[in-house]
């Protein structure tokens, strides 16, 4: 059978690169003169996936991991960059060539409740991709669907049942069977176990691993749960605000994470072991909006290892912390727009709606010893906010306190052994390493 020969051929080529992503971008909206700035969901990522390997993609919600997964299989059009699949650039494919290629790349979705059509029987759902691609004869398609049911651990009699008659785990098995129907080489698994209970999760993960061995599949495994990723992936990429922060072999990443974001993320996982005494790095705030990302490093607004500008080297960590929080507040305010009445008031100098900034300043800087050269600028910015010009306050603070992390985008630096890469300014010789800084800054908290 052709299936067998195809498989041995694939196995023989295991280890070579299947997918090569080069500077991929996906932006939504923007473009017009009056349009709001675009949402930069994926903002220039490059990586490769080898044949037969599982690459994990982790990150918080909104970091662009699902968009990246969808763009890889052409469910979204890339804004810029190339995706080469087995040597062909698939971002330019169209028409018949695209449809043909689609057989090679499939997807399993997170929510088995909404990704299956409740009005179709399970058999029809699994057969649908075969029908769409006019695969062999009708008889063959039915047999193939029955085969698939058994390979994902369901029974043949399930063919005529409807999705609502199944539990969450079983529905996910149906979703997997559908993805396997066209014998793809590459499957994007978008949080395939997030909606399932832990005992069911374990079964689906085991199934995915077995199927990978059996059919020589290449996976992109998207998840926010780092412990699941550690279990199933060969390599892991960590994303934040549309950018890959760190990418490495799985074990190396978990044992020896170099990037401040990865370290924080790993330390935030609650361990199922109450005696574990690892120190948790609790990140302040939430990720910034992808419409208005920081000019420098994407992580700079929350980073526990952010580089202080040289002229403020003497400033204590707690003061610096307060400054960062203060900037966050001002940034937040500059995003709100004033109404007409308030603008008029501002014009005649009788604006008072923002007087409460004083309270916030007192709150943030009250218990710390603020040096003269810092308090001067804090005051100046508060003045600007009070006058109803938080944008000016924001740029004033930026001018004064911006360090290299705020100003320049870092690069992916090779760290450690092999292909371990991390996106941080601290990997250059100019600045101190990540680890001691984080240790020092989180010691007292």
């Amino acid at each position: 059978m052709s299936k067998v020969s195809g498989r041995t051929e694939r196995a023989a080529r295991a280890g070579e690169t299947l997918i090569e992503v080069e500077n991929l971008k996906k932006h939504y909206g923007g473009g017009g003169v009056f349009a709001k700035p675009s949402v930069k969901a994926v903002d220039g990522v490059s990586f490769s996936i080898k044949r037969g390997e599982t690459l994990g993609l982790v990150g918080e919600s909104g970091c662009g991991k699902s968009t990246l997964g969808r763009t890889l299989i052409r469910l979204e059009e890339a804004t810029d960059g190339t995706i080469s699949f087995d040597g062909t650039d698939i971002t330019t494919l169209s028409g018949e060539a695209l449809k043909d290629w689609r057989r090679n790349a499939q997807m399993v979705f997170q929510d088995p409740e909404s990704s299956l059509n409740d009005r179709m029987t399970v058999g029809e759902i699994i057969r649908e991709p075969l029908d769409a691609h006019d695969w062999k004869t009708k008889q063959d398609r039915q047999e193939r669907a029955l085969d698939l049911l058994t390979s994902v651990g369901l029974r043949e009699e399930h063919y005529y049942r409807y999705p609502h008659q199944f539990s969450g785990g079983q529905r996910q098995r149906v979703g997997i069977a559908r993805a396997l129907a066209l014998e793809p080489e590459f499957i994007v698994l978008d949080e395939p176990v997030s909606a399932l209970d832990v005992s069911v999760q374990a079964k689906i993960i085991t199934l995915l691993e077995d199927l990978q061995d059996e059919f020589d599949l290449t996976y992109l495994f998207i998840a926010h749960d780092l412990s699941v990723v550690r279990h199933i992936c060969d390599r892991v990429a960590v994303m934040y605000l549309g950018k890959i922060m760190e990418i490495s072999e799985t074990e190396e990443l978990y044992e020896d994470a170099r990037n401040p974001y990865t370290r924080s993320l790993l330390s935030a996982i609650p361990h199922p072991d109450p005696s574990a005494s690892s120190r948790r790095i609790t990140l302040p705030g939430t990720p910034p909006s992808p419409r208005d990302p920081p000019t420098g490093c994407q992580f700079s607004t929350r980073c526990p290892a952010k580089i202080q500008p040289e002229e403020y080297d003497h400033v204590e960590d707690d003061v610096w912390d307060a400054i960062e929080r203060y900037r966050e507040v001002v940034r937040e305010r500059s995003r709100m727009s004033l109404g007409t009445v308030d603008r008029l008031k501002r014009h005649v100098g009788r604006f008072s709606a923002y007087d409460d900034i004083d309270e916030t300043v007192a709150d943030l800087f009250g218990d710390v010893d603020v040096p003269e050269d810092v308090s001067e600028h804090v005051e100046a910015a508060a003045e600007l906010v009070r006058d109803g010009r938080p944008e000016d306050a924001r740029s004033h603070l930026a001018e004064e306190f911006n360090g290299v992390c705020d100003l320049r985008r870092p690069e992916l630096h090779p760290v450690g052994d092999g292909d371990h890469m991390s996106y941080c300014h601290r990997h250059t010789d100019e600045y101190g390493d990540v680890e001691p800084v984080i240790d020092r800054r989180t010691r007292d908290t």
Binding site: S199, A202, S227, R230, E251, P270, H271, P272, P274, R333
Partner: protein
């Protein structure tokens, strides 16, 4: 909290703040009666966090809702159940009296903060409303207290944030606002039903820290419900493991993870993917969680249990003391350890006959 010294100590003297005994909550449908919570008993003392952990369908949320008096038809808390809060029997209360308890005694945080906030009122409005109804604080004072509350849950620039609507808050912020709203009622007991499940892990870490802080500051008792063993290990002092409507094991958090006794707890802990990486396969539990509709005259875990024997299908296991240390019990016919099978069965039968009669019978 600082469990690091040793939580192996027994609870302090005095009455528990919340004492649940033989709680039975059933849902009657045309076809069958579902015993969502079936004879559950536990205590929560001041200043401690008690976790309830279980898979979906184990009855953990229904337990919380029963305590809050939020069970609506076709659900019903059976009259044999007892829920005592601060010495007061809650199951006998009228709706109006219950509202009083919910307003000031027990606060609850739900999984989805979006649903606990009204989208058409500002956050400040909703906190002030809680203050006015429960504590009679109004006007400028309410504004001040509300600002303090938002600050105490770690929302920066609190005063300005009061005038914003829930949609202007991020997910983690919303959960903080809900916690602030609940604190406005100055509760003594906090019930948290999967409060971090919908959040990202860095935000989850923030909320867990916040809850611990609030608890320490106000000496709150907390009942924390989750399916995540990692979160349970992080936050609770004592844990109840639920399966199909029943508590199968109770232990201090250290004992539970180091010396799990019930086969279900063991299986649950082993199926967590985690420290061990690829290569060592994951342990899985065969089968699915059953819907508890038959009376509990057998062990509900028996069909999936790797160590089940014949008697498991015929006798309902009682809670047996299995700990070398304090308060560790498991409902399993494998215990007491060291006795022969017949002796163990006799032991369980004797306990069942001596215990509450409601444990054997079918009340419906």
């Amino acid at each position: 909290m600082s469990r690091d010294v040793s939580a192996e100590t027994a609870r302090g003297d005095g009455e528990p703040l919340l004492s649940v005994r033989d709680l039975q909550t059933v849902f009657r449908t045309d076809r069958e009666t579902i015993r969502a919570v079936d004879n559950v008993s536990f205590d929560v003392y001041r200043g401690e966090t008690v976790g309830i952990v279980g898979e979906s369908g184990s009855g953990k949320s229904v337990t919380a809702r029963s305590i809050m008096g939020l069970i609506d038809s076709p659900g019903e808390v059976l009259p044999e159940s007892s829920i005592r809060f601060d010495g007061q029997e809650l199951t006998a209360l009228s709706d109006a009296e219950y509202r009083e308890v919910r307003g000031s005694g027990i606060g609850m945080v739900f999984q989805d903060p979006q649903q606990s906030l009204n989208p058409v009122y500002t956050v400040g409005n909703q906190i002030r409303e809680a203050l006015e109804i429960n504590r009679g604080i109004t006007g400028a004072e309410a504004n001040e207290v509300a600002t303090d509350l938002l600050e105490s849950v770690g929302i920066p620039d609190a005063k300005r944030r009061l005038d914003e609507f829930p949609h202007e808050f991020s997910g983690g912020m919303r959960q903080r606002a809900v916690i602030a709203m609940m604190l406005a009622c100055e509760p003594e007991l906090l019930i948290a039903d999967e409060p971090t499940t919908a959040l990202d892990v860095t935000i989850q870490a923030q909320i867990l820290d916040l809850l611990k802080e609030i608890q320490a500051e106000r000496n709150l008792a907390m009942l924390f419900i989750t399916h995540d063993m990692g979160v349970i290990a992080d936050i609770s002092d004592r844990v109840n493991v639920m399966y199909a409507g029943q508590i199968v094991e109770k232990a201090s958090v250290e004992n539970l993870f180091e010396r799990p006794k019930h086969p279900y707890t063991r299986a649950l802990i082993e199926s967590i993917p985690g420290e061990h990486s690829r290569g060592d396969g994951l342990n899985t539990i065969e089968g699915e969680v059953p819907t508890p509709s038959a009376p509990a005259d057998h062990c509900r875990f028996a069909p999936r249990c790797p160590r089940a024997f014949e008697a498991c299908d015929g006798i309902a296991p009682e809670h047996i003391d299995v700990g070398e240390t304090v308060e560790h019990t498991a409902a399993c016919l494998l215990y007491p350890e060291g006795k022969s099978e017949t002796d163990r069965i006799k032991h369980h039968e004797a306990l069942a006959n001596a215990g509450t009669p409601s444990k054997e019978g079918d009340d419906s």
